[in-house]
Symmetry: C2
Subunit: 190 residues, 2 copies
Amino acid sequence: MITSKKTSRPRASKLARPSGPARHPVPAHVLRSFTPARHDHRRCVSAALSKADATCNASGRRLTPLRRRVLELVWRSHTPVKAYDLLAALGREREQAAPPTVYRALDFLLEAGLVHRIASLNAFVGCGEPGPGHTGQFLICTACGTVAELDEPALSKTIAASAERLGFEVRRETIEIAGLCAGCRRRGAD
Amino acid sequence: MITSKKTSRPRASKLARPSGPARHPVPAHVLRSFTPARHDHRRCVSAALSKADATCNASGRRLTPLRRRVLELVWRSHTPVKAYDLLAALGREREQAAPPTVYRALDFLLEAGLVHRIASLNAFVGCGEPGPGHTGQFLICTACGTVAELDEPALSKTIAASAERLGFEVRRETIEIAGLCAGCRRRGAD
DNA sequence: GAAAACAGGTTAGATGATAACATCAAAGAA
DNA sequence: TTCTTTGATGTTATCATCTAACCTGTTTTC
Ligand SMILES: [Zn+2]
Ligand SMILES: [Zn+2]
Ligand SMILES: [Zn+2]
Ligand SMILES: [Zn+2]
């Protein structure tokens, strides 16, 4: 884990730019997702928790200790977490933990836009950029399990155009791309 | 169901064209999906079964009576079917039907590309255009439950470009767009 | 025909998610 | 403050989805 703690914000454009004519810069949190060995994950966690505090305060939602703890557990890695794994983790630190405990916390976090559900995996990941009107677009590495969240307006636009032609009104997008991340490709994962 | 059985193929272009400058024609099976009252669904079913026979023959797969029957049940509508509904339907017509019966049949049909799994619904739909290298892109009406399959190269291309920038190798796309179909919008569904 | 591969039956259980009701704490109203 | 309402969590039970493991019979292949 390399830290570089000083600068107030890691500059995405500095780190990114693998080659192509990137029309818009790759967000920092995406990069961190796919460089698990090379980043200080504690920063991801604390950033996520701060943002959660902020957005909940702003929207009048109550980020209770339990909910906050579940969010923290979700953020233990960039790999999607199963509800029952969360349940097990909770069970280790408090006596009372039943399925509804964790599912209710997850419902809250989903509602608040702090986590996303990965439908194709029945699992949950923390959202790196919580905010309104942001739909989940995910790259999922089948080798290391890491999930990176995209935010490609072009993608949504293409979908909107397609839907438009059929008179279809888009409400929710579920986009989950499975494959191999750069790291796993390099080390010849299958 | 209104029939109009005579013409050898329903003309997509005739029915479609809601307004826009459709860059490529909307495939017939997509249109049929979203006009449930206006098409002879028996044609969908028999077409699907013929194609299934053909592709299985071509690829040396065995479309056994059970598998064929499950496919037929999946095709009872353009609405995704739950595995346990299939199981119940099977149970009504034969004595022996347990979960593995239907899940194994579904696995086969998925493998053969004859049905798709809708991850966001834990359900299955028949594939209108079975064939290799074709990834699922779905529009799902939350009001009437109808699912239409898209095949938008532009969409895949956009995803590929995005993935490229991150060095990500795409293997499988899960694209499920929930919303309202034209019909349900007209009749003011929510 | 024997061996191998495959389809399906059968039993049991793992995993994922929710319903319904009880209890307690926080937020608002009187 | 005290009452009231709302919301968060505990608790129990159950439903829903999916799979492992083992067995039997049927095709394929040699
Ligand atoms: Zn991290
Ligand atoms: Zn990876
Ligand atoms: Zn039809
Ligand atoms: Zn509809």
